[in-house]
């Protein structure tokens, strides 16, 4: 018995004698997890001696772990605040990688398409618009047969970049929302049920008649839930597509700040989808030995080859102007 346990201990504690693989660890947002995991898996094929292990523990987790230096890079859907950057003890670069969109999903019998505008969505999520046949909704959708049914609001229970994008948009289009609820990865929702993750929300909406919620575009597409079009700043109703999201970023690209910490909700442009967001990789400007070079190499690959893989997964690639800017910033990483 004693001999077996010593042997077992030796086997377990000894590092496996595989070829010496270098590894990078990253943590952060769940929202881009599918595309990031695709990139890191593909990059491993290109460079087998490097393993980049990314775990989606949440944007806040990513920021925290980067600050604690337990991971080599972070990822977040909401940019770090100045305080957080100060606490990180070193310049942190925000590098936009892809964009995504939040769509309003709904479950109303007999209705396949709906149009929403900012004030209407804010009213629903504030609890002011409580029924589907409310005057505001009927005005936007004259042709639809909206029933006299209570609206069940579904939101995220866990903190999330998806939420951040949604409430950021609502704060911009509704002064009342900005005043009473505000924006953050988790907020004090006035009404509604909380679903865990995009899965939780889409599940609840699918199963609850009269429900409305918000999920990332990819979830709505993959799960076949009806989602509505939203009126953008230019006054056009846009149904979320990968292209519409890229247009939103392009519109904001002209005034892109050097640190990329910008919100692209309610962006200008006729074809822009108003509820879009960047997601960023967070990297220290100065990295410990060797890691900076590896991170740089990956980022170059990401800009050159990775971007093309995004649309198939429901994410929008960076517009060309932004890509060029990011490429220059990548070169400054040490």
């Amino acid at each position: 018995m004693k001999r077996i346990s010593t042997l077992l201990a030796a086997v377990l504690l000894a590092a496996p004698a595989f070829a010496q693989v270098q590894s990078l660890n990253g943590a952060g947002a769940t929202f881009p997890y599918p595309v990031y995991s695709k990139w890191f898996d593909e990059y491993h094929k290109v460079k087998p001696e490097l393993q980049i292990n990314y775990q989606s523990i949440g944007s806040g987790g990513g920021i925290r772990q980067l600050t604690e230096k337990t991971v080599d890079f972070g990822a977040s859907d909401g940019p770090m605040t100045d305080e957080q950057i100060a606490k990180a003890g070193g310049a942190v670069l925000h590098l936009p990688t892809v964009m995504g969109a939040d769509v309003p999903v709904f479950n109303v019998e007999g209705v396949k398409e709906l149009k929403f505008d900012g004030p209407a969505l804010a009213g629903i999520f504030l609890g002011k618009i409580a029924k589907w046949n409310d005057a505001a909704l009927v005005k936007l959708n004259p042709g639809a047969k909206l029933p006299d049914q209570a609206i069940t609001v579904v939101h995220r229970s866990d903190g999330s970049g998806t939420t951040y994008c949604w409430v950021d948009y609502l704060s911009k289009v509704s002064p009342e929302w900005a005043k009473t609820v505000g924006k953050g990865t988790a907020v004090n929702w006035p009404v509604g049920l909380g679903g865990k993750g995009n899965e939780g929300v889409s599940g609840l909406v699918k199963q609850t008649p009269g429900a409305i919620g918000y999920v990332e575009l990819i979830y709505a597409m993959q799960n076949g839930i009806s989602y509505g079009s939203v009126k953008n700043k230019a006054g056009k109703f846009v149904l979320a597509t990968v292209d519409g999201v890229t247009q939103a970023a392009a519109g904001a690209a002209k005034s892109m700040p050097k640190d990329y910490r910008v919100s692209i909700t309610d962006a200008p442009g006729a074809k822009a989808y108003p509820i879009s967001t960047f997601t960023w990789l967070l990297v220290y400007a100065k990295n410990p030995e060797g890691k900076g070079a590896e991170i740089k190499a990956f980022l170059r690959w990401m800009l050159k080859h990775g971007q093309a893989m995004a649309p198939a997964l429901g994410y929008a690639p960076l517009p060309a102007s932004v890509k060029a800017m990011v490429a220059k910033t990548v070169e400054t990483i040490q």
């Binding site: 377990l12 590092a15 292990n53 865990k196 997964l313």
Partner: protein
């Protein structure tokens, strides 16, 4: 008059028999429903490739969970190596030296409390204890978190089984002049050995299914792990990640992985209980 009362009593008896039988059958059938559902959802996606491949990028067929299976084995194995000796030793202490006394009372109380702490809080504790000072996520920290969950279970069961050993055995050994520590280690513990080992196996099966404590400790890994001092994949974590994703393929993998986990946990439990049965009959 007597006849009517007796008939009523017999009716009550029959009614209670039916009611309690319904309770028991209902409880038992829940397990069958769960097993059936998982088998139905997961069986179709099980294959040898699934068990031996690494995860593939999204959209590519043939991804597997080999690293999660091996990772779980390693993390749970190390947790057992840490938790079982400590748990057994504590249980032995409580049974042999802890019949009275405040210290023993506090230890039992502490074990009960640790039993009730949500596993995510234990994971946080392990994070603060090991991940932060080491400045890295590691399989080791995950094992420590799981060991903290195992110890109260093993402790309580060890104490119970040791108490069931007849005192006459101890007295006989002591009367022969055997030192006390040898009596405990070589006579008492082996006698209760089957029960203790069963408890250890059940504790292992319990922690094999834990997800929450591993998120901030073992962290997860899409590749083979790089030793116990680095992040590592585990089965429940993989299930959770796949289940909350938007892709059908990943959902299928989640169900298949859940089936594997269920089968493993069940196998350990069935084996442990079958093994235990004869000795339990003798002790009772």
């Amino acid at each position: 008059m007597n006849g009517a009362i007796y008939a009523r009593r017999r009716r009550v008896n029959a009614a209670m028999l039916t009611l309690t039988a319904a309770c028991a059958v209902l409880s038992a059938s829940v397990l069958l429903a769960i097993l059936g559902y998982i088998a139905w959802k997961g069986a179709s996606s099980l294959s040898w490739a699934f068990l031996t491949n690494l995860p593939k990028p999204v959209g590519e067929a043939g991804g597997g969970i080999a690293n999660a299976i091996v990772g779980s084995a390693k993390v749970v194995g190390l947790a057992g190596l840490i938790g079982i000796p400590v748990g057994v030793a504590s249980g032995v202490y409580l049974a042999e030296y802890g019949r009275r006394g405040r210290f023993a009372f506090c230890v039992r109380y502490a074990a009960d409390v640790m039993n009730g702490v949500p596993s995510i809080v234990i994971g946080l504790f392990a994070y603060a204890l090991i991940v932060m000072p080491m400045k890295r996520f590691s399989a080791l920290s995950g094992s420590v978190a799981l060991a903290l969950i195992m110890i109260p279970i093993v402790l309580r069961n060890t104490e119970e089984f040791l108490r069931l050993v007849p005192g006459t055995i101890r007295e006989a050994a002591l009367a022969l002049g055997v030192p006390r520590w040898k009596v405990v280690l070589f006579v008492m513990v082996p006698t209760a050995g089957r029960g203790i080992l069963t408890a250890a196996l059940l504790a292992l099966a319990r922690v094999a299914g834990e997800t929450a404590p591993l998120i901030f400790t073992a962290f997860g890994n899409r590749f083979w792990d790089d030793g116990m001092l680095n992040p590592i994949a585990t089965l429940p974590h993989a299930i959770y990640n796949y289940a909350i994703s938007p892709y059908e393929d990943w959902h299928r993998q989640a169900w298949a992985a859940a089936l594997i986990l269920m089968l493993f946990v069940l196998a350990i439990n069935v084996a442990a209980r079958l093994w235990l049965r004869p000795s339990a009959g003798a002790a009772h």
